[in-house]
């Protein structure tokens, strides 16, 4: 195993099974353990070459952690390992029912600024989206483990939609708080 191999598969770097569901505490512990060994601070009085190498290794560990830490990033990364690029993922067909539900959620969000108590309506909406996300993660996990990558990719695209919506909801929340 060497730097190049670890670049090819972040799961191997952390010595974790290549699955969507992972133990966050374990991932965090392994991340910190690896940085304890590889971070440039550990090589502050080493030769310039070793320092440069430490920067590369440490950066790789950071990249790997970023790719696996959040569910959506992890799903995209797993599909990439299965040979699907981002273009292929986004070209997946999404069923009409989901799209209509999306539009409704979006309309709800947009109408909120005019409400008497937008904050609690927004809270409800955010909870609702959160529940949908959890459900989609389940779909992704099952499909991916079964090797049904197009199905997993479709779930991933839906997760991307909801993620965007959540972001917009958070922006609205900030402007409500600031206003």
């Amino acid at each position: 195993m060497a730097l190049l191999d670890f670049q090819r598969n972040y799961y191997q770097l952390f010595d974790l099974p290549q699955e969507f569901l992972l133990d966050q505490a374990q991932l965090g512990a392994r991340y910190r353990q690896l940085q304890m060994e590889l971070h440039p601070d550990r090589y502050a009085s080493a030769s310039a070459h070793e320092q440069r190498l430490a920067v590369q290794y440490s950066a790789l560990v950071n990249a790997a952690y970023t790719a696996l830490r959040k569910p959506l990033d992890r799903a995209v990364y797993l599909l990439e390992l299965a040979g699907m690029g981002s273009e292929e993922i986004s070209s997946q067909q999404v069923d009409g029912g989901f799209l209509i539900a999306q539009m409704e959620l979006r309309e709800k969000l947009e109408s909120m600024t005019g409400m008497v108590d937008p904050q609690s309506a927004l809270d409800r909406l955010i909870t609702e989206i959160g529940e949908d996300v959890i459900e989609l993660q389940g779909v992704f996990s099952v499909a991916y483990s079964a090797g049904e990558f197009p199905k997993a990719a479709a779930a991933c695209v839906k997760m991307q939609y909801l993620d965007k919506l959540l972001l917009e909801a958070e922006i609205l929340e900030t402007s409500l708080l600031d206003g």
């Binding site: 940085q35 080493a46 900030t174």
Partner: protein
């Protein structure tokens, strides 16, 4: 194989010898230096017992500038020659700095492109040079107290400092002849200072209201690892601004008209002192009879002060909220660390406590906490704690990107990404037959190039003529542990390459720094040669030392016989070169040996990955058994 003899008295430090490391808080208003002695971090006082060095430099008629309290005493009489708050001007362009300069009553050098410099009786002075004077004084103080040259220093910068400001700080250290181990973010340093006493778990918010900047950072501490989750702030808001609102109000109340530069300085000082007193008293009388023409005694109540500074405090809380959101916490904040003298203001304390729902930690003097944390980190980096009980994982404060078509910014490394980081993105040509590509690197959160900070330009040439869109140009950003950026571009088909270590547009060039360094030595040429030889020898020793212990530990396991012999031969050659006087040859050989030992170094790192993970697995097994 015979082991190489390399430890020589005075040249290569013995493994167990304690090295002299310092932490320096290079502040807007005051600067401090601290070191770890007998396992405890202490701030170092000057001969008069004062710990804080006012960050004030007077460039008068005297040969060398005056720094600190005696310079501060000259501020009112010689405002243009006495530079205060120069940190606000570090790494900033002239246009950028004009407003601040006007407010501080400085004269900027006219008609200059790029970096700011001040016109003083001592000549044109850049903020980097002025900061170097402060660092020299602190460094000398440390040498006198600790008793010997400093092996390494950690210098703190506001977390929100951009690339140019960081580079300027590093340049100042180079000018002052200080060996910098690391630039460290101030809030992180403060968290480290407390981390030693705390029980070592949980989420920490650091609220840092410095003289000229406001920083907020959210960190998680877990078994000795500090992970910065998010950082934010406002580079144009600080304790000075609290003083300024009060000063403006005093001026208005006194009925005096416009002021001379020196008078304004005195007024500001009176305002600051009143603000400080109001942390204890509920009302103070400010005597302006010696400060303003026709000025009398004006009463200020704490309520009045709070009413005036309320909007500024609110601005800091908005930044806190943004930062909390960026940190994406699932749990609450466990501890709040306060940094900066202005956090003594009762309104600031209560507003922060209300916002986070926790009483801030106050165990360490908010003026000293940053220097203390920096000293701890310096002690670790210099190698005084081989067991390494602490590690910092910091982030970049602002997004880095490049200019694309239509003057839009394509972000390559988003803010709050943990460093070090290496990120690549592919681009292509937009015209048929295009043979060169201009790369413009910017920093900031906005979408248009003109709204971001321009960091550097470079060109990738030698792309063979192809149809538009056929070339594959990979642009790689690498940010090191100091938060400094290197960018390289490579055309994949031909292998054409170009790279820059980003020297910001407003920074000093390497030639300028060398020039300034030379000017500061009396026997420039000779000194330079001696210095270079010493530096080359040192890095050769470092490499040999490291390789020797690595070979002892892992040589048998990770190298085959001929690889080991090849390295040993090279080491012997370098060894004999070190005894000679040829700096260039030492440098070349060090470079060569460094390159050729990279495979070995890389195998050792792979090994430590395997061992680290085996360790974790055992740990978690232990945890399960415990449960």
């Amino acid at each position: 194989m015979a082991l190489l003899q390399i430890a020589e008295p005075g040249q290569s430090p013995l493994p167990h010898q304690v090295k002299r490391a310092v932490g320096i808080d290079l502040g807007t208003t005051n600067s401090l230096v601290a070191t770890v002695r007998g396992g405890r971090a202490v701030v170092l006082p000057d001969a008069q017992g004062a710990v804080m060095l006012p960050s004030v430099i007077n460039y008068g008629a005297a040969d060398s500038p005056i720094v600190g309290a005696s310079a501060l005493a000259l501020a009112a009489r010689h405002p243009a020659d006495t530079l205060m708050s120069v940190k606000r001007f570090m790494g900033r362009g002239r246009n950028d700095a004009e407003e601040d300069a006007r407010r501080s009553h400085y004269s900027l050098a006219e008609g200059e492109e790029g970096m700011v410099s001040f016109l003083t009786s001592g000549g044109k002075i850049s903020p980097v040079e002025a900061s170097a004077e402060i660092l020299r004084v602190l460094s000398q103080r440390a040498v006198d107290t600790i008793g010997g040259e400093i092996d390494g220093a950690v210098i703190t910068v506001p977390a929100y400092f951009d690339e140019a400001q960081r580079q300027a700080t590093k340049d100042a250290a180079t000018l002052a002849g200080l060996p910098v181990l690391r630039l460290m973010n101030e809030p992180t340093a403060a968290a480290v200072a407390y981390g030693l006493d705390a029980d070592g778990q949980g989420v920490i918010a650091v609220y840092d209201l410095g003289g000229g900047t406001f920083d907020i950072s959210i960190l998680r501490l877990h078994k000795g690892v500090f992970e910065v989750l998010a950082t934010g702030g406002d580079t144009a808001l600080g304790g000075d601004d609290l003083d300024a609102v009060l000063a403006d109000w005093l001026l208005q109340e006194s009925g005096s008209g416009t002021l001379e530069a020196g008078e304004y300085r005195q007024l500001q000082a009176s305002a600051r002192s009143a603000k400080e007193k109001l942390s204890e008293a509920v009302i103070v009388d400010v005597d302006l009879s010696e400060v303003l023409p026709g000025g009398g005694i004006i009463s200020v109540s704490r309520d009045k002060l709070e009413q005036m500074i309320q909007p500024l405090v609110k601005r800091t809380l908005l930044a806190c909220r943004r930062c909390l959101r960026d940190a994406q916490l699932e749990e609450g904040v466990d501890n709040i660390v306060m940094v900066g003298g202005s956090t003594r203001v009762p309104l600031v304390r209560s507003a922060v406590a209300d916002f986070f729902g926790r009483t801030p930690l106050l165990g360490i003097d908010p003026d000293q906490v940053v220097a203390v944390g920096a000293a701890v980190q310096a002690d670790i980096l210099v190698g005084n704690r081989p067991e390494g009980d602490l590690l910092l994982l910091d982030v970049i404060p602002l997004s880095l990107g490049i200019e694309t078509m239509g003057e839009l910014v394509e972000k390559i490394v988003p803010r709050n990404t943990t460093i070090p980081v290496s990120r690549a993105q592919e681009f292509t040509t937009y015209k048929d037959g295009q043979t060169a590509l201009a790369v413009h690197i910017v920093q900031g959160e906005r979408e248009m190039v003109s709204d971001c900070r321009s960091l550097a330009h470079f060109e990738l040439r030698g792309i063979p003529p192809m149809v538009a869109g056929a070339a594959r140009i990979q642009v790689t950003f690498q940010v090191d542990a100091d938060g400094l950026l290197g960018v390289s571009a490579r055309e994949e088909i031909t292998g054409a390459e170009a790279s820059v270590m980003v020297k910001p547009s407003f920074g000093l060039t390497d030639e300028e720094i060398t020039g300034m360094l030379q000017a500061s030595f009396s026997h420039a040429e000779d000194d330079k040669r001696v210095r270079q030889l010493a530096e080359q020898r040192l890095s050769a020793w470092q490499l040999l030392d490291g390789l020797k212990s690595a070979l002892e530990k892992d040589g048998d396991a990770l190298l085959v016989a001929h690889e080991r012999e090849a390295l040993a031969d090279q080491m012997t050659e370098l060894q004999s070169l070190i005894d000679g006087e040829d700096a260039h040859a030492i440098r070349q050989k060090t470079e060569q040996l460094g390159r050729e030992s990279e495979t070995f170094a890389s195998r050792r790192m792979d090994k430590s990955i395997r061992e680290a993970l085996a360790g974790v697995s055992l740990d978690s097994l232990d945890d399960e058994v415990m449960q």
